[in-house]
């Protein structure tokens, strides 16, 4: 009998179906890898197993007992532990306190720390994990790898049956990854069922017993490691229906507008150089965590660079105001938090970044603001009752148009867009793509980060791929295929 058994699990977020009738099981003493592109539904599935998210349909049982949904405590008491990429610990407490903090005490008044016992037990648990961290060390001062071990030790303390590790290796060094894998194999030998989410195929083939591939929330297949190879897995992940779609005629490429040279941000990405010409759309692909959004934000001056130069038409960029006055605009990934002010009107949202153009010194001009807003609303066909409507009341697609449109009031040279069509309807998607092309065709430049494979292949003139904070390669439009992108993004040699 499998330890984890998911039957017919479905989950919607709003109208988007993130999991569609997925059957998934993990046996005792098995390392089961979940594989899929960004947004395939892997994280949602493991959150359901861990009791963090409740499915809309389907059942999950742990060791034959039905899991009450949405209860972390219930899942924990059944022996399920989820280790996040960024460990969820208490930085102010010591390692020992972190491990024991949720220990249920016996009779009231008998809850005194049995310090010596807890200390030595913590040491044992950590030793079992090959970690030499002191139980008295303050968690705030530990590396991510050490914190993961503390997190696992806390899970081991409670009779561990199912260990879920969600993309744990992204911020680890090779030797730390080796140690993590050794720990996982040890636990597996002790009968723990392990679910591992990863992207690096060599790693996955090394560690797994079985591999389940998800695509667009659907189960593609579950294979044994012995039957799997890298090429086959990539094909399964991206699907066979490779859609070439509509592509733009070759651009009339002009002068260089944006030059980025040897740009680094310590700990995020390093040594990135690129240039973008008039009339060009440059796509940036890669896995989540590769440093793409951080790169865009650094180019726009949101984040401080640690090395390198950014040049737009001769101006050196080191702050947001530099970027804006040089004619750059950034449409961020999270429009609800950074792209828009949801609780204010469409009018104010469009006016906010353009007050320098419409105001006389510090005095605003409602007339000019209204004219600008109305022209953007009609140009981008934003569906609003009037420009006073709150941005938060609009649909995703219309919100994204406002987030984009606020920059089009200005005479921009370079538009930076991060996941421009995430969570928007298909109609808006097509129109936003058309808008980006139109913008580029008018002699401007676009840099587009996207995790949407089809978008990445269709919209840009060329694609840069980032992996682990570095540029892993460049693909011209002719070279760009899903397979080529995934190879560069996951580091598998051709």
């Amino acid at each position: 009998m499998p330890v984890v058994d998911c039957r017919g699990v479905s989950k919607w977020y709003g109208t988007a179906k993130v999991l569609d009738d997925v059957d998934f099981s993990v046996n005792e003493g098995e390392i089961h890898v979940l594989l899929g592109e960004n947004g395939a539904g892997k994280s949602t599935l493991v959150k359901i197993v861990a009791g963090l998210v409740s499915p809309d349909r389907g059942e999950v049982s742990i060791s034959g007992t039905e899991l009450r949904y949405g209860s972390v405590v219930a899942a924990q008491s059944m022996g399920v532990a989820l280790i996040h990429q960024e460990p969820r610990l208490f930085p102010d407490l010591t390692v020992m306190e972190n491990v024991w903090i949720d220990q249920r005490s016996g009779a009231v008044g008998k809850q005194r720390f049995r310090l010596s016992q807890m200390g030595s037990r913590t040491k044992e648990l950590l030793a079992q994990l090959g970690s030499s961290v002191s139980p008295d060390a303050r968690v705030a001062f530990l590396s991510v790898a050490d914190q993961q071990m503390v997190d696992i030790a806390a899970a081991l303390r409670r009779d561990l049956k199912v260990l879920i590790v969600d993309e744990p290796t992204a911020s680890l060094t090779p030797s730390e990854v080796t140690n993590l894998f050794r720990v996982m194999r040890d636990l597996k030998d002790q009968g723990v069922a392990i679910i591992f989410i990863g992207h690096r195929l060599e790693e996955i083939l090394e560690i797994s017993d079985r591999i389940t591939v998800l695509r667009d929330g659907k189960l593609v297949t579950t294979v044994n490691r012995s039957d799997a190879n890298e090429d086959e897995l990539i094909r399964l992940m991206i699907g066979r229906d490779i859609d070439t779609g509509e592509r733009r005629d070759s651009a009339n490429v002009g002068d260089v507008l944006l030059t980025v040279a040897n740009l680094s941000e310590a700990g995020r990405f390093s040594d990135v150089s690129l240039n973008v010409r008039q009339g060009e759309i440059v796509g940036i692909g890669g896995l989540v965590g590769a440093g793409r959004s951080e790169l865009l934000e650094t180019i726009f001056g949101v984040r401080a660079k640690s090395a390198g130069t950014i040049d737009v038409g001769g101006a050196d960029i080191s702050s947001i105001s530099d970027a804006v006055s040089a004619g750059m605009g950034l449409v961020p990934e999270d429009r609800g938090r950074y792209g828009l002010i949801l609780l204010t009107s469409v009018l104010n949202n469009i006016s906010a970044p353009n007050l320098d153009l419409t105001s006389w010194h510090d005095v605003r001009s409602p007339r000019k603001e209204l004219r600008n807003a109305e022209s953007i609303v009609s140009r981008l066909r934003i569906k609003v009752s009037n420009v006073q409507q709150l941005a938060g009341q609009l649909s995703g697609g219309n919100q994204q148009r406002v987030s984009l449109g606020k920059w089009l009031v200005r005479d921009l040279e370079v538009l930076l867009v991060d996941e421009p069509t995430r969570g928007v309807d298909i109609g808006s998607k097509v129109e936003i793509h058309a808008l980006l092309r139109e913008f580029a065709d008018s002699g401007k430049a676009v840099v587009m980060v996207s995790s949407d494979m089809r978008e990445l292949l269709e919209v840009p003139d060329r694609i840069l791929i980032m992996r682990e904070g570095r540029l892993a390669g460049e693909l011209s439009r002719e070279e760009a295929t899903e397979e080529a992108v995934m190879r560069l993004a996951s580091g598998v040699a051709a």
Partner: protein, 337 residues
């Protein structure tokens, strides 16, 4: 490994800060003593000890609240309300033993704390807003229950007044109560799981929920304890001043209490703070208030000074924390493969 070093480093910083406060206390004593020798005479030192005692009882409660990433601004009003209720009960039922009167004050305070606890823990109202509201409400209640009539010294029993004058081996009961509170708090924060959970809640509330800690219950509980301690402080206030005026019992006390806690090194954003630090912070605040009066600084400048000191403590604290964090992030920069 560097980890063991990390553990030591933070403790070192805490020790350093505590030694720093102790040094400032000594400097203040010397300076005030030189400026006005009367500062060092036994009567004045005794008066400092009594005001520090009352402040300490409240500061310990406030420290627990702040550790959970909350704050209680209503402490002065709760002190006033419980002192008033206790004073009136003592006046109207002179036969009641003083132990019972102290219990009355603590129950009134505990109930007031429970109101704060319900607002913050259950209704999830930010503590700074909820307790700002109850600060006014409890002060208003003090006027209502007393009909704006003060409890006079002749209505307060000699036994009650003696709590601030007599005790064991010459140590007044007021001070003994404060020391008991300190000892219990030390034991609670160092030796119990529940104590550690308060730190956990303040350190990472999301993780606390995900680890299944009873965040609501513990937050509620900590506000009740704060209220009960403010009630005890109210009883001690009655003993010391032998009068309760609804307009000024505990008025503005929150500033002194929060200053003491923050100067003592409790992180205003929760997750850390020590009993020893709070004790030292309280002594510093108490000495400063008394010393400034004794050397003849006007009341206005005293307020200015207490405000400036709390700001200074917070700025120094955040400066040190930033230094640690940047050093830390430099050490854990993703080691590129």
């Amino acid at each position: 490994m560097s980890d063991v070093k990390g553990a030591g480093r933070l403790r070192q910083i805490a020790r350093l800060r505590e030694a720093g406060i102790a040094a400032v206390i000594i400097v203040l004593i010397v300076v005030f003593g030189v400026l006005n020798p009367r500062f060092l005479n036994p009567d004045n030192l005794g008066s400092i000890v009594l005001s520090v005692g009352i402040l300490m009882i409240l500061a310990i409660g406030q420290m627990l609240v702040i550790i959970t990433r909350n704050i209680d601004l209503s402490v002065g009003s709760v002190l006033g309300l419980s002192a008033m209720v206790m004073g009136m009960v003592g006046r109207d039922f002179p036969q009641l033993p003083i132990a019972l009167l102290i219990v009355v004050a603590m129950v009134v305070g505990g109930l007031a704390g429970a109101v704060n606890g319900v607002l913050v823990a259950l209704f999830k109202i930010p503590a700074i807003i909820a307790t700002l509201g109850t600060l006014a409400i409890f002060r208003g209640l003090t006027f209502l229950v007393s009909n704006n009539v003060q409890v006079d010294p002749e209505d307060i029993s000699v036994e009650m007044k003696n709590l601030a004058a007599r005790g064991l081996l010459g140590v007044p009961w007021l001070v003994i109560f404060a020391l008991i509170v300190v000892a219990l708090a030390w034991w609670f924060t160092k030796r119990t799981m529940t104590g550690k959970r308060l730190y956990a809640i303040g350190s990472n509330p999301d993780a606390a929920r995900m680890r299944g800690l009873n965040v609501t219950g513990l937050t509620f509980g900590v506000f009740v304890v704060m209220g009960a301690l403010a009630g005890l402080g109210g009883a001690m206030y009655v003993a010391r001043f032998a009068t309760v005026n609804p307009a000024d019992a505990g008025l503005g006390f929150e500033l002194a209490v929060i200053s003491a806690v923050v100067i003592g090194g409790t992180n205003i954003f929760g997750g850390s703070g020590t009993v020893l630090g709070t004790v030292l912070g309280t002594i510093l605040v108490g000495i400063l208030a008394n010393g400034l009066t004794v050397v003849g600084v006007s009341g206005f400048w005293q307020r200015f000074a207490s405000g400036a000191i709390i700001l200074l403590a917070i700025v120094a604290d955040s400066f040190v924390r930033k230094r640690i964090e940047t050093r830390q992030s430099r050490e854990t920069v993703v080691r590129s493969p």
